[in-house]
């Protein structure tokens, strides 16, 4: 039966006027983009803690130094790495879109973020536990309940709230408008972007900052990924451990990072002379899973992509590039490629598929915004970075749609996919903005 297919307003679409990014390959959009074009890989042996006991010992960690960051130096207990990632990328997006000069009141700026899981750090509680040990070295609960807990820093509870880094950054930049925090997986980062687009179309904000931030790579996040069966456990030093769509893929690798986009209606961007490479012109989502923790089915992924196209009144033939979720999991990548083949059956000879996770790792809630901003760069530059691993393999699922080398081509429409492990998937559609409608002051 026919369902109503809502389409977004194309006369005054939501455009991307600013971008901020932190990843294992750089501390800005430009740095990350250049490294991606060079075919660099951000996945390295884990630093910062001894991961020797885990069967997965590699991750794509950022080089961001919180000591150099100016976010609430007085509040070290509250500021886990994810707070600094979010702060850093938000600042870049704000400056990139010249928001500070635009003098937009804080209550007219919306802020939507997909946030990775917040874990407690054992060191925050160690002293409380250690002061409550009995003579035999085990925890004396009575001692802990009556006295030991007082050793815990009074701000520790706040650092455990999922929304606290969001609120810190909102305070830092006086972002007082519409807001929501979604969590914890990749779909939540995409929902944040969608909610930002919806808020602008409903004219509930003049500008929106939206995106997502990963969890810090920690023993908790590593253990969680391993227990979920997501991670690649065969980290040979001479190969790329995260191999999206490769026949040798065996799981994903965690990445750290954050992507934040400044979004506004084109009329608003034009009025203040802001430039933009692309618009977010559609989105779709679906939820369906077969097994536990295996992610959405191929039909759900296809439905999300189809709804995204419908909301822009586009046919599959119009799409130039699909930025796949492609996290390197065996079943997940198979389902996604099945969905892509089904969806683009009529144009398989021209569709190109790209995946960033071989280079950046899996940023969970941070992944969709990073991929969307990579999509905007593709549209701007007309080039698709190489999908890692660089060498093709027999039985490669990606062939012939995935190129393991940089590909120059005309790119106007990009579909970005993401999913969680539970069965939710989301697709976002990016389109080049027609040149004759470009704002004054754009540097071409």
């Amino acid at each position: 039966m026919d369902q109503p297919r809502p389409s977004l307003n194309r006369d005054d679409p939501v455009v991307i006027t600013g971008a901020g990014m932190v990843s294992a390959l750089g501390l800005s959009v430009a740095e990350t983009w250049k490294a991606l074009l060079d075919g660099a890989c951000g996945i390295r042996p884990i630093e910062g803690f001894d991961a020797g006991g885990f069967p997965c010992r590699a991750a794509a960690q950022t080089r961001l130094d919180p000591e150099q960051d100016d976010l609430y130096p007085r509040w070290p207990r509250l500021t886990g790495l994810h707070s600094h990632l979010l702060h850093h990328a938000t600042r870049e997006a704000i400056r990139h879109s010249n928001l500070e000069q635009a003098a937009i009141p804080g209550e007219a700026i919306g802020f939507f973020v997909g946030m990775g899981m917040v874990d407690y750090r054992v060191e925050d509680l160690s002293s409380a536990v250690q002061s409550s040990l009995d003579t035999g070295g085990s925890l004396d609960l009575e001692q802990f309940y009556s006295k030991g807990y007082r050793e815990i820093h009074p701000l520790w509870p706040l650092s455990m709230l999922n929304n606290i880094s969001f609120c810190l950054v909102a305070t830092q930049w006086n972002l007082r408008g519409e807001n929501t925090v979604f969590s914890p997986h990749a779909d939540s980062g995409a929902q944040a972007l969608i909610e930002g687009v919806r808020t602008l179309h409903e004219r509930k904000a003049r500008v929106v900052l939206a995106g997502g931030v990963s969890e810090p790579v920690s023993p908790h996040s590593l253990a969680r990924g391993l227990l979920q069966g997501m991670l690649s456990v065969e980290t040979q030093r001479d190969s790329t451990p995260c191999r999206p769509f490769s026949s040798k893929r065996n799981g994903t690798i965690l990445g750290e990072g954050c992507g934040m986009a400044a979004l506004e209606l084109r009329s608003h961007a034009d009025a203040r002379g802001a430039s933009y490479p692309a618009m977010i012109s559609g989105y779709g989502f679906a939820f369906e899973s077969e097994g536990e923790g295996e992610g959405p089915t191929a039909s759900a992924i296809a439905r999300a992509m189809r709804d995204a196209l419908h909301s822009a009144d586009l046919a599959p033939e119009a799409i130039d590039v699909v930025i796949a979720h492609g996290d390197g999991t065996v079943r997940g990548d198979q389902n996604e490629m099945d969905a892509i083949r089904q969806m683009f059956a009529a144009c398989l000879n021209r569709i190109r598929v790209y995946g960033s996770k071989g280079a950046l790792g899996h940023l969970l809630a941070g992944a969709p915004a990073v991929d969307a901003l990579i999509g905007a760069e593709m549209i701007r530059e007309g080039i698709i970075p190489p999908t890692l691993p660089l060498a093709e393999e027999a039985g490669d699922l990606g062939l012939p749609y995935i190129r393991r080398e940089p590909t120059k081509t005309r790119i106007e429409k990009v579909l970005v996919n993401c999913r969680n492990q539970e069965g939710q998937c989301v697709s976002l559609l990016l389109e080049k903005v027609e040149p004759h409608r470009q704002a004054r002051g754009t540097i071409c």
């Binding site: 885990f54 509680l125 925890l139 609120c167 408008g177 925090v181 969590s183 939820f287």
Partner: protein, 421 residues
Amino acid sequence: MVTGYGMVTPLGRTAEATFERASRGESGIGYLTRFDTSGLPCRIGGEVDDAWLTGFADAKARRLEKFASRGAQLAVVAATEAARQAQLDAVGHRDRIGVALGSHGDNPTVEEMRFLHRFYDSNGRWDLKGLHDEGGYAYLQFFRRKPDVAMTLLAHLFACRGSTLSIVSACAAGAQAIGEACRIIREGRCDVMIAGGCEATLTFSGFVGFVLIKALAERYTAPEKASRPFDRKRNGFVMSEGAGIVVLEALDHARARGVSILGEVLGYGDSADAYRITDTHPRGEGAILAMKAALDDAGLTPREIDYINAHGTSTQQNDLAETLAVKEVFGGRAREVPVSSNKSMIGHTIAAAGAIECILTLMGMSRSLLLPTINYEFPDPKCDLDYVPNAARPLTHRIVLSNSFGFGGQNACLCLGAWEG
């Protein structure tokens, strides 16, 4: 349109039971029984009776039960009630049903922390082999802490294949989930949304955090007297657990299948204080923005509002700032608009509060009864609105606001309407 609702609170296992007791001004607060509170400056809270957790009915559901934190189990109880009322089973297009839930996942227990600490030395090194050999940090515990598990469980149990959202905006989460769900329906992306919030943090590690930041009521003569919003002797909030779930539906869809309409979400607005992490803005600027945004969204003015369901936590800061915000938004009319706080009876159910209070407000409209603010004994000269003190008040009211303001400064406001048919 709201076509179903359900809740489980310290006052009752259903929406009806909770409303009934609340209309008599009863308190659901008592001494905590589930963990040892000796030595803590606050020893009270609003626990939900374990007997009210129904478990999971069929075999497929039981398979999922092992993933369910207490918060998720509460959500399932509330959603089952709401789904039955809305006759959700009869909806054919499951692709067009979504879930939006405010939920934070469970905290690790002290026993789990103790276990982990055995494998962690003071130099920051993990004995990962030892941890692994002993079974690691329990697999299921990871799931109970993940904030999207309750939402995923609901999607599975009620066969929802539309959009699923998990929202973690602290005390504003329940109201934000309902607001975001409305936007998805309004945009035409889904016909039906299950929306609300759940919270179960009455464990030592969940509780002690709020003790440490001194947010909880510490001076009280009896547990049921501790939550006293807007009263001069208020001195902190009382933590509770619970869940509230509504079934939201597009008007045409509800009419086409002939299900009764229980009320209407007319508007939704949210804001951030961007002030301080630990403190509410002293003049309630974030609250003002949220209320104005909800009114704008509904296309209404303050003149048309008959009642305000307050956030009213019973902390010095919140209740004063909320009072000032109401005065700013309503001007000369502020004292004419009744304002009451359900938290005086239920306590603060954090991520569930916005949803529970939305439902109680809808029920009050359909029954023409304003629920009271109990424990209102000593008027605070700075809080001088009509708080519906101590006894429920019969009053026909059609259009209301329901406030939810969160830790960290996230604020949400829902504008609700009685359904005129």
